[in-house]
């Protein structure tokens, strides 16, 4: 992992977040701090409903923390911005737009020429393997292909950090394995910085340079586990003893800290 000045990092510091419900105040994020360096893929694993998604939404600028600070490249995060792009669990594609239009949709607020927007969109569509599907509407695509559009839309923005919220939870198991490998390839090739939230331990270990293990609600950072398996990684590494040992470790931690 290359060292870089903190100004080029995503820094999450002493973060707290509560939700107010009819049953009172519910703590969701409890004092979480971590950093993500450029080119690093950090994955967060935790039980469903542990507040991981809320954390990601705060980094995206969709929600505000109660306390603590969020900074990216030295700037405080207060609202959404083009240096952060998000991939949603349920894709979030506009059903009335074609594949190409959906990718261009993500570039709408960037101050680049329409020609460049198109060029970037075509490039991103090619990268996720959807060349030839530009004019299809989401309805005519499988879940996996829809998520590829979601990934292309986020990549085309060329964000400093790619936020992935359970990106493969809504696609079938076979497609999930293929897409994990594809995403890993794209992210590695682009030296992209990514923060990926999942409840799938294998996914967290397979994709991450580091895995942050979260407790269930309220989310606390239990442990940070470096994954020292070199990239590019092949799906076969999942059966290696090193991978399996890490898997067992994460599983034990999650069991101990999940109510």
């Amino acid at each position: 992992m290359s060292q870089s000045p903190s100004s080029r990092r995503l820094v999450v510091k002493d973060l707290y977040k509560t939700f107010t419900t009819s049953n009172g105040v519910l703590p969701v994020i409890d004092n979480i701090s971590f950093e993500v360096s450029p080119g690093e893929v950090v994955t967060i694993v935790g039980a469903s409903g542990s507040g991981k998604t809320t954390l990601l939404r705060m980094i995206a600028g969709l929600e505000t923390p109660d306390r603590g600070s969020l900074t990216l490249n030295g700037h405080a995060i207060i609202e959404p911005g083009p240096e952060r792009a998000m991939i949603f669990q349920h894709f979030g594609l506009m059903p009335w737009l074609s594949v190409l239009q959906n990718v261009v949709f993500g570039l709408k607020t960037l101050s680049i020429s329409p020609a460049e927007k198109l060029e970037r969109a075509h490039e991103a569509i090619g990268r996720v393997g959807l060349k030839g599907f530009e004019d299809f509407h989401p309805k005519h695509l499988s879940g996996g292909m829809q998520q590829r559009v979601g990934i292309a839309r986020a990549l085309a923005v060329r964000p400093s950090v790619l936020l992935c919220d359970e990106p493969f939870a809504a696609v079938d198991a076979m497609t999930r394995l293929l897409m994990q490998t594809d995403l890993l390839g794209i992210v590695t090739e682009q030296h992209a910085t990514a923060l990926l939230v999942t409840h799938d331990i294998e996914e967290a270990l397979y994709l991450g340079d580091r895995v942050l293990v979260f407790s269930s609600r309220p989310a606390r950072l239990i442990e940070e586990i470096p994954v020292r398996i070199p990239k590019p990684r092949k799906p076969e590494i999942r059966t290696s003893s090193e991978f399996q040992a890490l898997r067992a470790k994460v599983w034990r931690l999650l069991q101990e800290h999940t109510k």
């Binding site: 949603f88 709408k108 005519h140 695509l141 499988s142």
Partner: protein
């Protein structure tokens, strides 16, 4: 990677030629039976006339220009009323769905006027505006505007949270969000409202013409009935129905065109 995964079945399958033939056959039988019964006076010709007499009357009304003249009068009130209702209804409904507080304030009024039999307002409108194009336009407008408001309101309100989040993540401000997400998401509902409005508007304009005036399709239906010009009465009814079919089919086409992505 699989190709097109769950390709949608064609949304509308045409009826088989056989079924169409049966429909036409039934119509032919009815028309022939009516013709015989009418000419032989098995039924009172004063009330029912018969197809060839109606056709003759229709042709006369087409040839002497009466149809064109009256169609223009009806179409004017209809088009202006429906168009105004679409514009005002869409704007108000979308605004209600977009600004929750505004929607909550206006909602009871919309519920009240939607439930109210609006034909009951006609006497008051005629009292205020007299028998005029304006009163007919207002009657059409009031008849059509509520379903459009209601649909636009529901449409804007049901915009999926996820789509709004997605747009916000990519930096969309309030206006961009409205134009690029809320409006297109509400469009299917809006179009359904317009469809209802197109049909309802036809009823409204004909009923409005019943109340008075000297021309228009509805007025001619009323006059023919009063003067026992039965073939003409049916001829005007036929024109009105054909016009309604054309409008509904047109609205169908427009809906399919606008919703081709769904």
């Amino acid at each position: 990677m699989t190709a097109v995964a769950d390709d949608a079945a064609p949304r509308r399958t045409r009826p088989a030629t056989g079924t169409r033939a049966i429909s036409a056959g039934i119509l032919a039988v009815i028309l022939i039976a009516w013709e015989i019964a009418g000419q032989a006076q098995y039924v009172n010709p004063f009330f029912f006339s018969w197809p060839s007499a109606i056709l003759q009357a229709s042709w006369k009304l087409i040839a002497n220009g009466a149809l064109a003249q009256n169609l223009v009068v009806t179409a004017y009130a209809y088009l202006v009323g429906v168009f105004a209702a679409i514009i005002v209804g869409s704007a108000l409904g979308l605004a209600m769905g977009w600004w929750k507080t505004f929607g909550d304030i206006i909602d009871p009024y919309v519920v009240f006027f939607s439930a109210m039999p609006r034909i009951a307002l006609f006497p008051i409108l005629l009292m205020v505006f007299g028998i005029s194009d304006l009163s007919r336009i207002i009657i059409v407008f009031i008849g059509v505007v509520f379903p459009i408001i209601f649909n636009a309101y529901i449409g804007a309100k049901q915009t999926p949270r996820l789509l709004i989040d997605a747009a916000r993540v990519f930096g969309y401000g309030t206006n961009q969000l409205f134009m690029n997400v809320v409006f297109p998401a509400a469009l299917p509902y809006l179009i359904a409202g317009v469809r209802t409005g197109v049909t309802l508007g036809m009823i409204m304009v004909v009923v409005a013409e019943f109340f008075g005036g000297s021309s228009g399709l509805g007025q001619n239906i009323a006059q023919s009935a009063q003067l026992y010009k039965t073939p003409e009465l049916y001829a005007w009814l036929l024109f009105t129905s054909l016009l309604a079919v054309v409008l509904v089919k047109g609205a169908d086409r427009f809906e399919r065109w606008a919703m081709r992505w769904a």
